[in-house]
Symmetry: C2
Subunit: 95 residues, 2 copies
């Protein structure tokens, strides 16, 4: 069973914004579809997007807490943070 820490108003704002862009939505979906991490280059194989733009979106997702980014040598290791996503779901359920 996943953790569900309550979110601050700021976190809610950042998460909602991060999810609002279709591109970020796709990126997050792709990251979430992997059990273990994925690298930027692999995302770029499926999305026609420059490295710079991808980097920008990844920062938004990370700032929102929706993904974890770990540097592994040359590569970035991206993974979804389901606990945070679940907290957001729990928040929306209170409406």
């Amino acid at each position: 069973m996943p953790e569900r820490e309550p979110l601050t108003a700021t976190q809610v704002r950042l998460i909602a914004k991060a999810l609002a862009d279709p591109r970020r939505n796709e990126i997050l979906k792709q990251i979430g579809s992997r059990k273990d991490g994925i690298a930027c280059a692999e995302i770029r194989e499926c999305q026609s997007i420059t490295a710079a733009t991808l980097s920008h979106h990844l920062r938004e997702l990370e700032t929102a807490g929706l993904i974890a980014v770990v540097r592994k040598g040359k590569f970035a290791d991206l993974s979804i943070r389901r606990d945070v996503l679940n907290s957001y779901l729990a928040y929306l359920k209170t409406f």
Copy 2:
């Protein structure tokens, strides 16, 4: 048990965007807190916002399908559409 029709990509985009603005978030929360409908003027008692801006936000929420707006004489009767919100929750769960 609430209905959960799957959403189109367009609906997902509109809903995510509608939820992304803090003001709209608050407005939706307020509408959702009422069992029966609420009018614009009552929302404006709690949020410092002009009628024009509120009208704009309500249109966004309605276009996204998150609220129902029924005109009743002079007043608008606003209510949350939990089926749509639940569909969005179901969508996010697939991540």
